[in-house]
């Protein structure tokens, strides 16, 4: 199990060793982020909203940095390519490994899911009963949304606990693309 988290470096040349940050340092910072937000909200939805907003800021920057570093002068113009980029490149850069699954939703045409069996971010978080279904991986959902919106794919993103196969912390990040994205995909095909 990796005990170090990757952080996209700011002044690295392409191809050099990536900087890593200790998991404990990040966990500490994240716990402070959660506590800070908790003091300023009145319900679970607002708390998840704040974490999501913070994640979004990370996502926007991660996209620019990682696309430049990993793909040079190529960019994604389709849903599948962009989601695949999030699922592998972004996850690897932030959490040290690719996400566990990328699936298309069965409920609707515009739904996609990224599954993480054990989100690194929740490793040291325990949610008390009175906060119900709070999932701090709302931060990850924010990161995903940040990447997608910056890449030109407006969407709604949310994180949900869906335990399965003994993984209690298994989190599904649900992505619902706007109508306009689907229309654009159709026009291109």
């Amino acid at each position: 199990m990796s005990r170090r988290m990757r952080v996209p470096g700011t002044s690295e040349k392409r191809g050099t060793k990536r900087t890593e940050v200790s998991l404990s340092a990040f966990a500490f910072l994240f716990s402070e982020l959660v506590q800070y937000s908790q003091q300023r909200v009145s319900n679970v939805e607002e708390l998840e909203g704040r974490l999501k907003q913070m994640g979004q800021e990370v996502g926007e920057r991660a996209l620019e940095m990682l696309a430049w570093r990993e793909k040079g002068t190529r960019k994604e113009t389709q849903i599948v390519g962009t989601l695949s980029f999030v699922h592998t490149v972004v996850w690897k850069a932030l959490f040290g490994r690719a996400a566990d699954a990328l699936e298309k939703g069965t409920q609707a045409d515009n739904e996609y899911m990224i599954v993480d069996r054990e989100p690194l971010i929740n490793r040291f978080i325990s949610v008390p009963k009175d906060l119900g279904h709070l999932n701090c991986a709302a931060f990850n959902a924010g990161v995903v949304r940040g990447v997608l919106v910056a890449a030109g794919f407006p969407c709604q993103v949310s994180a949900h606990f869906v335990p399965q196969d003994g993984y209690k912390q298994r989190t599904v990040i649900l992505i619902r693309f706007d109508e306009s994205v689907l229309l654009r995909e159709e026009m291109k095909l």
Partner: protein
């Protein structure tokens, strides 16, 4: 004539520079900016059709050509020129892209804000001298 602009996702002007010394007057500077902005629709169209950042020449007006480059995050870079070489333009855009990533990573910088960094300005001008 060599006018360079960086435009944000919602068409906000982020950076503008006249890279060649022209003996133009106020009116021609405004014309340059106008032509660049008018080219944005063509840039968007080309961007969604292409899997590469460098879009080459996307629009023309009289004897001026607009070449464009789009980053993964949808930031557009536009160059107004009168027939510079493709290779030089591409290298220039790539240098500016790298400089932009450095700006974007700043947690205090939001993507809708004007780029005021003198470092960025210096890099753009140096790259222009080198490649254009």
């Amino acid at each position: 004539m060599l006018t360079f602009a960086v435009v944000g996702r919602s068409d906000e002007p982020l950076y503008l520079a006249e890279l060649a010394s022209t003996k133009g007057d106020e009116a021609s500077y405004h014309l340059h900016q106008f032509v660049l902005y008018a080219a944005l629709d063509a840039v968007d169209e080309a961007a969604w059709r292409s899997g590469t950042c460098y879009l080459k020449a996307v629009d023309r007006f009289e004897d001026m050509t607009v070449s464009a480059y789009v980053t993964a995050g949808g930031i557009r870079m536009l160059l107004l020129h009168q027939g510079r070489g493709e290779d030089g333009i591409k290298s220039f855009f790539q240098d500016v892209h790298e400089a932009y990533v450095a700006i974007a990573m700043n947690p205090m910088y939001t993507p809708t804000e004007e780029i005021r960094s003198s470092e960025f300005d210096r890099k753009v001008k140096n790259s222009a001298r080198k490649h254009l």
